[in-house]
């Protein structure tokens, strides 16, 4: 597949198995590292990026059949009068396309198949108690496509028959709930719905990086993060419907209907605020099975493990439950040997997603630095970006909407002069809390924790245009 064809032969438009394969299979040099010979790369390393343009020109001039990446072609309207993709008929412009409903449930373009959920090799022992990471490096805006939402399962995932799914609300003691009730999905979907956009972040997101840099790309450093519009019913509505004693209640226990029957303690304040909801909808359709179909808890601002999937029961109680995933895991080991229990809130954090680790900048010149910011304590107020490793900062633009406990997209225009750079982003939330540097966070929490790493991420841009994961204290 990588075999080069003789110069001058028309480039076949094969379906690429690998993104980039179609630009790779022709006679041309592919962007960016593949269109450069080792010698070329050395020249770029010496700061000679301008020669790239010249080599595009040469390539385009060599033959009219040469297929350049759109960018390269646009940069070189020379040769035999211009860009062959303009001068010659394209297959898609000169043939009949596919009929409606060819994909009854639409799929992304085949050219996008590199952007998928992925596991981090060696992170977990078995795939049914594991994580897959969302490809943040390629996502736009703030909503995560449902099929790319990160996954964390403790005992595999199930595709539950929604007609047989039930939600029970009961009390730890009879006096806590006047009428313990059972709801079918029919019942829950009759209740007044709300739709809200919120981020969900696993408490262990960025957990591999507590001690040192460990993984290459933002998918693996920050990809246990997603954001959706959720539709459902405030849990408070259900508790009131059952006559729960909201004064005596201090906590609720949420329990899943899968094999793990995941259980987590939720403080009643969050429920009373109306924010916690029992959700069935995600981005306009039902939840995906991997995300808890047909019913999950949504606990805005709190780590993902509390958003119990396949939710089957809510128990109203007056003390925390010390369940396995709040007494053995999701506890934070501190330098003094004590564990913090019930760590829940995801504090203010941000990360640049483009350019980010494992990527290569195409050329010197204009780029938009773009990333995500979020806070479990409310809305993001501002994001500052540094290109010199935190010595000087510039305020980034926040794209709308800027919502509470939701991802916020920030951007900053940047002219890369071809010299090494250290990109960082630093978010501040509406409480005034400023995202910490690694040194500040480690001074309190040490390096042996797994959870709640919200330190400032650094991406190092090398002269070659390669972007790599590094840490600055």
């Amino acid at each position: 597949m990588t075999k080069l064809r003789p110069t001058g032969e028309a480039t076949p438009r094969t379906d690429p198995l690998v993104p980039g394969a179609d630009t790779l299979s022709g006679r041309l040099r592919r962007a960016p590292e593949n269109f450069l010979t080792a010698d070329d790369i050395r020249q770029v390393g010496q700061g000679r990026r301008d020669f790239l343009r010249a080599s595009f020109l040469a390539a385009a001039g060599a033959t009219a059949a040469a297929t350049l990446s759109g960018r390269a072609a646009a940069a070189s309207p020379a040769g035999a009068g211009g860009d062959p993709d303009i001068l010659n008929p394209t297959p898609w412009g000169s043939s009949l396309g596919l009929p409606v409903a060819a994909n009854p449930y639409g799929l992304p373009s085949k050219h996008e198949r590199g952007l998928v959920r992925r596991q981090s090799p060696g992170l977990t022992q078995v795939p049914a108690a594991s994580v897959s990471f969302a490809p943040l490096q390629g996502l736009f805006g703030i909503i995560t496509p449902s099929g790319l939402h990160f996954e964390r399962h403790h005992q595999g995932w199930q595709d539950i028959d929604p007609t047989r799914h039930r939600l029970m609300v009961n009390g730890a003691r009879p006096e806590f709930v006047k009428t313990p009730k059972v709801y079918t999905m029919d019942d829950i979907m009759r209740l007044p719905p709300v739709s809200r956009m919120h981020f969900i972040e696993c408490g262990a997101n960025t957990g591999m990086e507590w001690g040192n840099v460990a993984v290459p790309t933002v998918q693996y450093t920050h990809g246990m993060l997603s954001c959706s519009e959720f539709t459902g019913v405030p849990l408070r509505t259900l508790l009131e419907d059952c006559g729960a004693d909201l004064k005596a209640a201090k906590f609720v226990l949420a329990e899943g209907g899968d094999g793990s029957s995941m259980t987590r303690t939720i403080p009643i304040e969050l429920v009373l605020s109306g924010e916690v909801m029992v959700a069935y909808g995600q981005n306009g359709e039902m939840l995906r099975p991997e995300n808890g179909y047909p019913l999950r808890l949504v606990v805005p601002g709190v780590q993902g493990v509390s958003w119990v999937k396949w939710l089957r029961r809510i128990e109203v109680g007056d003390r925390p439950y010390a369940t396995k995933d709040e007494a053995v895991h999701y506890i934070d080991l501190m330098p003094d040997g004590q564990h913090r229990q019930y760590t829940s809130i995801q504090e203010c954090k941000s990360v640049i997603t483009s350019p980010s680790g494992g990527q290569t900048l195409l050329d010197k010149g204009y780029f938009t630095i773009s990333g995500l910011a979020w806070s479990g304590r409310g809305a993001v107020k501002r994001v500052d970006v540094s290109v010199d490793g935190g010595i000087n900062w510039t305020q980034a633009t926040l794209q709308t909407p800027v919502l509470s406990k939701c991802l916020t997209r920030f951007t900053l225009p940047w002219n890369w002069d071809g010299r090494p750079a250290l990109l960082q982003s630093r978010a501040t939330d509406e409480t005034g809390f400023v995202q910490p540097a690694y040194g500040q966070l480690r001074a309190v929490r040490g390096t042996r924790s797994i959870y709640h790493n919200n330190a400032i991420q650094t991406w190092q841009v090398a002269e070659s245009g390669d972007v790599n994961n590094v840490q600055i204290l």
């Binding site: 590199g114 007494a327 004590q338 019930y342 990527q359 010595i391 900062w393 190092q460 994961n469």
Partner: protein
């Protein structure tokens, strides 16, 4: 426009401004949901709290627990809870002194990376609750309450918290709590717990102040930016070909960090089916997990006409061919899928 009409428009305009809503058409949610029956609550309300609320009556001995352990748990967690090569160890890292102090001393040591379950867990109720709801992993909720007592007694014995002749009961478990090695090892006094209404003395409640107080300095914030850590070389290629994990258009491309990952990017559909069907929780291609590795199976039946028999075996489950551990019946699996999987296994279970 009549005067009353105007008034009505005005009223609705004000209503819209002030957020008034339409007249109430419903009061409460009639006919939504129904009371739960006592039997239903009993069936689902299985949580056991740190104060032992919800703990069922029952008992189990260490020796009975050992039988259950060897039959139903050891395949994944190791004969002594030290774990086989696959799972995290449950037992180890605690001392007699820890049982006295209630603090696991090894947790303070930076040269002691292991963190077993017993090094961390402060509450014995957690283990009872969890084993009853979720273990064995592949057959959750299949143990009787007494079996849970027994297998927990065995684990406590392995951790040297109770003697060999111990009987764990709904009464004695309360004494055990006083011997849990890390029983004093937890704190909930920190700002990451959104509880502003602490429930009592043993629950210190919230701390308003976050751990860190960074300032949004804008210029000349430090003399220079020093790298504290960089991606180790061995980690660069450990996540496949990053070029294939990025878009083919846009301002950037992924770095080529591995062989042309066409194949890695198109995993065999049978592999996906095996994963979906839960086979991979017990089988791996090259190593024994609970069941034999797929390469062992392929080797054993090479050149034999055994596909059909294996399809039935997969559907019906069984034991004795590879050892005493049974393979549970795969009732949800269609015959066609079973055939696909067996053909794939016999062809060496290729990943691509």
């Amino acid at each position: 426009m009549s005067r009353s009409c105007k008034a009505a428009l005005l009223a609705s305009a004000i209503g819209a401004i002030l957020g008034w809503t339409a007249p109430v058409l419903a009061d409460g949610f009639a006919n939504v949901g129904r009371p739960a029956t006592p039997a239903e609550i009993k069936a689902w309300d299985i949580d056991v709290g740190p104060d032992f609320a919800g703990l069922p009556k029952g008992s189990g001995t260490v020796s009975r627990g050992m039988e259950i352990w060897e039959e139903k748990c050891a395949s994944c967690h190791g004969t002594f809870g030290e774990s086989n090569s696959v799972f995290n160890p449950l037992v180890g890292g605690t001392t007699a002194d820890d049982i006295k102090t209630g603090h696991v001393a090894a947790l303070k040591r930076t040269d002691f990376p292991a963190r077993t379950t017993f090094m961390k867990v402060a509450t014995v109720s957690t283990l009872y609750d969890y084993i009853r709801r979720a273990m064995p992993w592949n057959a959750p909720k299949s143990l009787s309450d007494d079996d849970v007592y027994a297998v927990l007694a065995y684990l406590l014995n392995l951790a040297e918290i109770v003697p060999d002749d111990y009987t764990l009961t709904d009464a004695t478990i309360r004494d055990v709590q006083g011997r849990m090695p890390n029983r004093n090892g937890m704190t909930s006094a920190h700002a990451l717990w959104p509880n502003s209404n602490p429930a009592g003395p043993d629950f210190p409640g919230s701390v308003a102040k976050p751990d860190t107080g960074n300032a949004a300095c804008m210029t000349d914030c430090k003399p220079k930016a020093e790298l504290a850590s960089q991606l180790p070389d061995h980690a660069r290629g450990a996540h496949g070909n990053i070029a294939a994990q990025n878009r083919i258009i846009g301002p950037v491309r992924g770095q080529r960090t591995g062989p042309d990952a066409a194949a890695a990017d198109a995993p065999s559909p049978a592999l996906a089916l095996a994963e979906q069907s839960g086979c991979l929780s017990c089988h791996a291609v090259d190593t024994r997990v609970v069941g034999p590795s797929y390469s062992e199976i392929a080797a054993r039946y090479r050149g034999k006409d055994s596909a059909e028999a294996l399809v039935s075996k997969v559907k019906a489950g069984g034991d004795g061919v590879w050892g005493a551990v049974p393979m549970p019946p795969q009732t949800e699996l269609s015959v066609d899928d079973a055939k696909t999987l067996v053909a794939w296994i016999l062809s060496g279970a290729p990943q691509k």
